[in-house]
Amino acid sequence: MLETKELLLNMGPQHPSTHGVLRLLLYLEGETIVNSDPIIGYLHRGIEKLAEAKTYTQFIPITDRLDYIAAFPNNLAYVQTVEKLMSLEVPLRAQYIRVILTELNRIASHLVWLGTHAMDIGAITVFLYCFREREIILDLFEMVSGARMTVNFFRFGGVAADLPAEFYPKVKEFLDTFPAKIADYEALLTQNRIWLARTKNVAVISAEDGINWGLSGPNLRGSGIKWDIRKANPYAVYNKLDFEIPTGQMGDVYDRYMVRMEEMRQSTRIVHQALAQMPDGEIKGKVPKIIKPPAGEAYSCIESPKGELGFYIVSDGSEKPYRVKIRAPSFVNLEALPLMLKGGLIADVIAAIGSIDIVLGEVDR
């Protein structure tokens, strides 16, 4: 008899498939993962501490650096919470602009996820396609905000500027061509034998475990829970828009893949409708010159591309927040990774990491 010994393998923080500076300790028995421990914090910048030293307005650009793949949703979740604290009204046109930009950002975020996730598993073509389409969205963002990624565009009570005239034909062109592009990605992956072998029944998590471990967003929907904050507790103008919430059944890598693919289609639909419904009018409501929310506290959350992104803000009545707590979906989603990996094979680790779609800027804050 050969003696078997548990082996400890360190993966990351400098590893191309950990999507940033994630480090994983893998406890192995042969090729099987007995246990694993994610080590995080390599990108910790003390953003919550920083918030206490900045005024409310100064903190908006810092939110761009949380989930840097999807800055508009971060902006939205933060300004929405301050608006709740101050009971600010947001004009309808500004609400629509916010929805259009956040949904485009959802597509951009999902494209980065798909490209890198597929590349981790070995499908390089998909990566090139995804980044080609993402570039069009980033051009649109630059047109609107002046920046491709760190947009700093939403303001308390509205948005910084109206959409420029050249935005409309460009976005329409994108929306008209994009569904065919999704079909292209799917033609490369959805029925692909290698893709199926690498994703089906891999890193499975049940709905019950998912809720218990706090999963949110496409990760929880992949396990069959039809919960999307845009529908469950609508914010902005989502109650006026018609869209579906895709769900999976198994809760494996493949189901999470299918959910996000469909979400890109749904986001395209949402942007179409929002552009058609958007009224003329103001882009910023009545807002005091100095932002000083009354003493109190509020929590507000949105459905970011990664899941439930929430801000809990305590105000002491001064111009700086007393405490800002960011409920980052990636942080919570990553916590469930060891559960998904347990009993699986070492080769499936990168498939699992890719499928939960984490951004370390948001995990570490």
């Binding site: 914090g41 003390g46 919550e48 929590y299 439930e308 002491d316 007393y322 942080f331």
Partner: protein, 180 residues
Amino acid sequence: MDEEKRAVESEFAEGDHSLWEDNPIVKKLREIFPEAIISISGLQPYPDELTIKVKKEQIVKVCQFLKDDPHLAFNYLSDLCGVDYPEREERFEIVYHLYSITKRHRLRLKVSVKDGEPLPSVIGVWQTANWHEREAYDLLGIPFEGHPDLRRILLPEDWEGHPLRKEYPLMGYNSDTKPD
């Protein structure tokens, strides 16, 4: 923080109970745990801002009940965090954001502890509390009793101090406390 601000805040913490008394969650909790509730507050007119402060000894029991009761069904712990109020005798407030995926309602629970005083962990109720409690321990130094793996999570294990405490300087204590 000056006296005036402190007054505003304590007034807020006391809250105006009457506006919330008709809320079914409040009614139910008053019925089952009449002695555990310290105060009820929350920003009006938002039903999801309902905030209930409970006694720390009862926190696990209250959480378990909120999760198990079929009408409340708070099966999802959205968030858990600490807030530092150095001028208070019980300086740390631990805030639990609860959500029900089936009922789609929210509730904020709070408890207060003194510096260094252990607080029972709620991992037994929601697994997700594990990392949240580690974070509160890391950044504020709140010890959680019954936590299986209470160690720093965001900062290196040899870090000194807890940065989210109000007395901790924004730029850190000195260069020696930084990791190599």
